[in-house]
């Protein structure tokens, strides 16, 4: 997989829709739009990978503008067969450093940021419905990656997704159970999520493993003037 801006499949359904969407945006305000979900997989891995919508979000400030714009141009779920879903920036949860891997390109004067397919897979793992599982299988079949080890390391960067959820989030999937399920299906193995993902990630995140010298204050308390010759 060549995950670079010059390899975006602009002729795919998502590519054409995004191009038309960007062209129809007014030049001002300059928008910073992140595209996530299955669209990245269609644009970088397989043009035939179908999705019913394009998930995207802008900055907090442009949220209302984008909602109104999509509504006014008939691009919402109610009005378009292949619609644009404007999401809140908090809707996308993935590895901590997903922005580092995202590809950015300017499109008709606006910045578009595409989430790396592996980070899309991490976000899909939180739900892991049948279509999410198909996305895993497709990415691996088409690119040979991520391997089991690569995805293990990748999930360590998303360790916070394994923390207990708020009661209000209980409708979302269980990352522990989904990870175990994924390993069984893709790699025909059991995985100990705590031992393989959580503990190594937490160990790496320890800020300062070396404690300070505990004798510093004792030395201060026992200071003596040097002998004068």
């Amino acid at each position: 997989m060549d995950f670079q801006a010059n390899n975006i499949a602009w002729r795919s359904p998502a590519g054409r829709r995004l191009d038309a969407f960007a062209r129809s945006l007014p030049p001002e305000p300059k928008l910073d739009i992140t595209v996530f979900g299955s669209t990245s997989i269609q644009l970088f891995v397989d043009e035939a990978f179908l999705s019913v919508d394009i998930d995207l979000f802008g900055s907090e400030e442009s949220y209302d503008f984008l909602l109104d714009f999509v509504e006014a141009h008939g691009l919402t779920k109610a009005k378009a067969a292949y619609y644009i879903q404007v999401c809140d920036p908090y809707a996308f949860k993935s590895s901590a450093d997903w922005r580092v891997r995202a590809v950015e390109t300017e499109l008709h004067g606006h910045l578009f940021r595409f989430v790396h397919p592996w980070d899309v897979l991490v976000s899909k793992l939180q739900r892991l419905e049948e279509k999410d599982l198909e996305a895993f299988k497709l990415v691996i079949a088409k690119t040979g990656h991520p391997t089991e080890h690569e995805f293990l390391l990748h999930l360590q960067k998303a360790v916070d997704l394994y923390r207990p959820k708020f009661d209000e989030e209980s409708a979302r999937g269980d990352m522990f159970a989904n990870t175990r399920e994924l390993w069984k299906i893709l790699w025909n193995k059991e995985i100990d999520v705590r031992a393989a993902i959580i503990r190594p990630a937490l160990a790496r995140a320890v800020h300062d493993p070396e404690p300070p010298d505990p004798n510093l204050k004792t030395r201060l308390a026992n200071l003596k003037l040097p002998d004068r010759q």
Partner: protein, 75 residues
Amino acid sequence: MPTKGQPRYDTCWRKSRIAARILLREEAGKLTARDVALGRKLALDKSVTPRLIDQALYGFSGKQYRLAVARRKKA
């Protein structure tokens, strides 16, 4: 910048840096009676912690201090 006459919020860092300077002078054999008195006073101050003194020592001496720590550990 702190306002003159107002209480400061960084006294623990400032005092710890003074403590670190005194310890460096001790290592250099250049302690004065004033250093000894101040050092003993700072040793009793709860806001002056080994962590902050350690940070100040690293800040003052950088690599040189780390090497000295490594040498002391070896010895």
